[in-house]
Homo-oligomer: 708 residues x 2
């Protein structure tokens, strides 16, 4: 914190200004060690010469007079003055010109300024993002970058690791390293300036936007030639956070409830309260189920209660299946009863414009310490407890991926996809309007949930972007987090007072910051689902060397394309390994990478090469291309791959293996078999198996699990 900056900002606000003046901006920069052009006011030629000597040549000389507004017109500006003599002569000339221009003008003196320019022109800025708060931007300056929008963002404040990474994160990064004989930019100076801008806006949240544009970066430093600082009209609001232990206490009761009440339970087919009851019962939930309905004494064979408060014994979760109008009273009752979670299925709240109604139930829940999921959701599933607290159909394939969705439609797609692919799931959770429980709470729970090894989330927005990033950063160290961010391309027009603000399209900020947090972003719905299905069954790769073994040369080429597209490294096979592979394949087959074992080979060729690939410690992941032949039919291939992978895993050789199967429809059964045996396999596509492997690598790198 800087008392001087505090004072400058307070003064500006006291004067009702939201923009700092250029001298104020310069003082702010000085306070944070951000270099701006050296300058000073000379009142004599000797002064001017001394100042220029201290600043360094060349300099710019400018008349300073309250009576001369158009300095250039008055002959009051000299640029590129490059010696002591020239400064002396220039000083006198400017005064003479000024006198000639306006004989009566009051002359304060001559400003001596460092002349900047040359080197690399970059932009460093900061904006206040509605989701993530203070965000720092870096990009190359100039027309091309303005046109190409080559800019990168990070949360403020930044570490030295962040700021150095930003220099490499723009597409034109190579330019800063010096191309075509140009000198490289001073990376230390640039990264330091980026960090200081981050520190400034983090220290003073009332700075809404800052623009250092252009910054000139030479081989020996960086200078911000122009500084623009804009203050926010209102004081920033802090997002309240619930302590982690408190979140977990409630979440553990919600996901492991000993008793569930269904508010609005019904015996009548077609009612939501009936579907929820049946799903709880048929799903196999073993805790107590209490139907609540003032008009019934028994529902689906269970004793019903007038009110939740009538139920003897504790209740952890209340599922609401009543119209919105009745929710407040019922939620009061549930609060009194001491439930941990209110599963708020009803719609008719903020999504239909009923914002007050939603606020009302949020306050009731908060008053009672009840965590509320929804409203406007399908409910939630937690397979380790056989818990299907939803009006959708039950789902019972246990596994290790937890999925959440903000939209009911996407939730239904998750369910259908899961059922048809027999995806092993730990949880499916609808978050709907996210009036209370949001992704951060769920990540906090899943992080410590041994039943969950991977999380996939469909998002449309984040209530608290920083909270999300914090939660992600903790969990991704051990579990991948896949995010489908909808609304990617809807970069709503954004009123921006600065250049940086104009560059901060929603999606670019989301993309950079989610990646920085370690999220694996899915480009689309189907990708999210496939990542969710595949990532948990793949071992974590121990290095970057990927090898393709293929029976179809044509698949090998497409698989190579896919590896490059997905940022995977095709291993350069060392001579001894090449020779070892060659021993197993026909003389006209191609070793190298892809290893083309050629079509028409018997199962043993697949087996030998696969086993070698799994056993050799220099290889870290395998991509298999299978071609349907009479000699090695699809199920023979599937069984041998499953067997060899299992045998090698038993020996400690854990590596991701993904397969692309080309053939007649029997390859579909073979793929199902392979998936069931821990090998990711897809028919009729060379892209998907490599895309999911790429996603696993992205996570492993972000989690710091890759050597090097």
């Amino acid at each position: 914190m800087s008392a001087e900056v505090r004072e400058i900002l307070d003064k500006a606000r006291a004067e009702g200004r939201t923009a700092l003046t250029a001298p104020e901006g310069k003082r702010v920069c000085d306070a944070y060690g951000i270099a701006t052009p050296g300058e000073g006011l000379a009142t004599s030629a000797d002064d001017a010469v001394a100042l220029a000597a201290s600043i360094g040549f060349p300099v710019v000389l400018k008349i300073v007079s309250p009576d001369i507004l158009h300095k250039t017109e008055a002959g009051g500006v000299l640029v590129g003055v490059s010696s002591a003599e020239a400064v002396r002569a220039g000083y006198e000339q400017i005064l003479a010109n000024a006198h000639a221009y306006n004989a009566g003008a009051v002359i304060d003196g001559v400003q001596v300024q460092q002349m900047v320019g040359g080197g690399h022109e970059v932009i460093i800025g900061a904006v206040t993002d509605p989701t993530f708060g203070k965000v720092v931007a870096f990009g190359l300056g100039g027309t091309l970058v303005e046109v190409l929008k080559d800019v990168t963002f990070r949360l403020a404040p930044l570490t030295v690791h962040d700021s150095l990474a930003m220099l490499d994160d723009i597409k034109a990064a190579e330019v800063l390293r010096g191309v075509r004989g140009a000198a490289p930019a001073d990376r230390a100076a640039l990264s330091t300036m980026i960090e200081r801008v981050g520190a400034l806006v983090a220290d003073f949240p009332e700075i809404a936007e800052a623009d250092l544009n252009p910054v000139f970066a030479s081989a020996n430093g960086a200078v911000a030639a122009d500084v623009r600082i804009i203050l926010s009209a209102e004081a920033p609001v802090e997002t309240p956070r619930i302590p982690r232990e408190e979140i977990l206490a409630k979440m553990n009761r919600i996901f492991h409830p000993r008793a569930v009440a269904v508010i609005g339970a019904s015996g009548e087919d077609g009612k939501i309260g009936n579907s929820v009851m049946r799903n709880l019962i048929n799903g196999g939930y073993r805790g107590n189920i209490y139907p609540i309905n003032p008009k019934s004494t028994e529902i689906l064979g269970l004793p019903a209660y007038r009110s939740i408060t009538d139920v003897p014994g504790e209740i952890d979760v209340a599922v609401f299946a009543i119209p919105a109008a009745f929710v407040p009273a019922a939620l009061e009752a549930a609060g009194e009863k001491g439930v941990a979670g209110a599963i708020m299925i009803p719609s008719g709240f903020a999504e239909t414009g009923n914002v007050e109604g939603q606020q009302e139930i949020v306050e009731i829940a908060r008053k009672h310490g009840v965590r509320m999921l929804g409203p406007n959701i399908y409910g939630y599933y937690y397979t380790p407890e056989n818990l299907c607290a939803t009006f959708c159909t039950p789902y019972d394939v246990r596994g290790s991926v937890a999925l959440t969705s903000q939209s009911g439609g996407i939730g239904m797609a998750i369910l259908g996809f899961s059922r048809t692919t027999r995806m092993g799931v730990s949880a499916i959770v609808g978050v709907g309007n996210k009036a209370d429980v949001d992704e951060d709470d769920l990540l906090t729970f899943f992080e410590q949930d041994d039943n969950t090894k991977c999380v996939a989330m469909h998002l449309e927005d984040l209530k608290d972007g920083r909270g999300f990033v914090d939660a992600v950063r903790r969990i991704v160290k051990t579990k991948p987090v896949i995010v489908l961010k909808a609304g990617r391309t809807a970069m709503g027009a954004r009123a921006a007072g600065s250049h940086t603000g104009a560059l901060a399209g929603d999606d670019k900020v989301y993309d950079d910051i989610l990646r920085q947090a370690g999220v694996v972003r899915a480009p689309g719905l189907n990708d999210m689902l496939e990542y969710a299905r595949s990532l948990p069954i793949m071992p974590t790769p121990q290095g970057e060397n990927v090898v393709i073994i293929t029976g179809a040369g044509g698949s090998g080429v497409l698989l190579s394309d896919a590896c490059v597209d997905n940022g995977l490294t095709l291993m350069e096979i060392p001579p001894d390994l090449d020779e070892a592979f060659r021993a197993y394949i026909p003389p006209f087959g191609a070793a190298g990478n892809p290893i083309d074992i050629t079509g028409g080979e018997p199962p043993l060729t697949y087996e030998n090469t696969l086993r070698l690939g799994l056993a050799d410690p220099r290889i870290h992941a395998l991509v298999l291309g299978y071609w349907h032949t009479i000699v090695t039919p699809p199920m023979v291939f599937a069984e041998l791959v499953a067997r060899v992978v299992a045998e090698e895993r038993a020996k400690g050789n854990h590596k991701p293996v993904v397969a692309s199967l080309a053939g007649d429809t029997e390859v579909e059964e073979a793929c199902d078999y392979l998936f069931d045996h821990g090998v990711v396999a897809y028919p009729y596509t060379t892209e998907k198996p490599v895309a999911v492997l790429g996603a696993k690598y992205r996570w492993a790198r972000a989690a710091g699990l890759m050597p090097g």
Copy 2:
């Protein structure tokens, strides 16, 4: 053609040079009206002034003396000389400096040169691509573009339409239109220069590479400041072309054969010659089938012949199912018999290194006028004739897409995918080593084949890129051509003598030229298959206005993302239409686009909004987002959509309709039903339905079928 250029090139070759000198390059440019800096030799101050006046100020003055190599050191260069007086003074000063530097130097005079620079710096070049021949490149110059590789390619020679399109085809195209107050570039001058470079290399094929770099383009012209022209060491070879009528005569016999012989037919299970026989018979082919096998008299109930020459009557196609070693003799016999097509299934030719063996059979085929498919293929299918001339399994779902593949593995994936999706197919053709018949021949056939409405091709390379482009340009006017180009990312290091050559990575050239030809490029195998399945059943859109109607808000957001990703235009709904939609949806639903009818709506809401979308002529394509509910179950939705679409088509409202279905597994059946009824529909993905619609639009635009 220019006699002067002819003379310059001949002289260079006669002197054993492959690079032209700078003055030669300038003369070549002059001959083609490509502006280079004006210049001339002055031998007096008056001369210099007159020259400068004719060239235009400012100019550069340079001493010309065989005895002064280091002109600058000798004070022999003056830049930015901007008036007649300054030229006169400069001339005298340079002579004086030269004398002072070397009193004995012979002085030829002073060169007066146009001073170029400023405006926009661009690069225009030409290279000889191994696939496409002469190709012209255009990009912005400077460091950033070198780093970002922002360049575009077209076949030479070019039309004015091509050259103007190139100016807009680079990512930084906006720069040329003038941003940040910069003047726009002279588009007419730039496009003319691009065309002239194209004409030059087309006229003189021995020019291997040309580089105009930099070219300075101001608001009033363009000047090539530096010219580099490189000649090829060998004379270029013309690719021989078979006349279209000749191709068609043979192809029509191959696809509509009255009789097929199987060389190497066998009664023994597991033999290729047995599979081919059975597929021909079981596939339902109604022409004559002649098994050829010297050791049998009858195979699968049909009389067998020792040799094809023993068969009475004409034979159109001979399918080869014998080892490579026996092929030449058998092909001679087939040639003598006068077959039109040799379906060369056997492997063991160029793909295993046996290049001579392949050349031998090519020559035998050519000698007899036999067109050969393969070798090294699975054969081919043509459903209108129930023809399954392959060792794979029969396929009988007739439809209008023809697919070809260079790889057997990809062919098998086509077959399996087709079977599982019941894709309607006209032909599946393996081209394998493409020793004779290639994609151009097949396109020529499919263009006039009424059974084929769409073509999808898997390519690894093209034998004759220009022939392919010519064939594509003809067919795409009426039928989409989908191309999966494998080896996209394998941009093998390329020995290049010019800057343009270094920028011409294989894939960028392929991508630009395929697009220019009107091809719809598929990013991956699965995309190719889905485009092939979907494009033929979609009507051609009549305009760019796409409207999303969705029951799930969450799907609507993702569908919007996908529309933007696929270059589709979300219609701005006019007020009267907005009101008309609002009349059908709940008050809290959202009109606009997407039209969110909200979840839980009955079938009638889907029906009303869909019908309005189909009937209103301002809307050109519909994207539906379905959400599985009890009120409107999946099959109810599917049946109503199919019915409404059929009813509106009967009224003449032909529009593409694609649907994304989110729900439990019943949505899969609903999608199948919709596909069977001419509506493209996918479960669990918002991307695919929009991607195929985008592909249809790309074709319609390229074919010139879209208004505006």
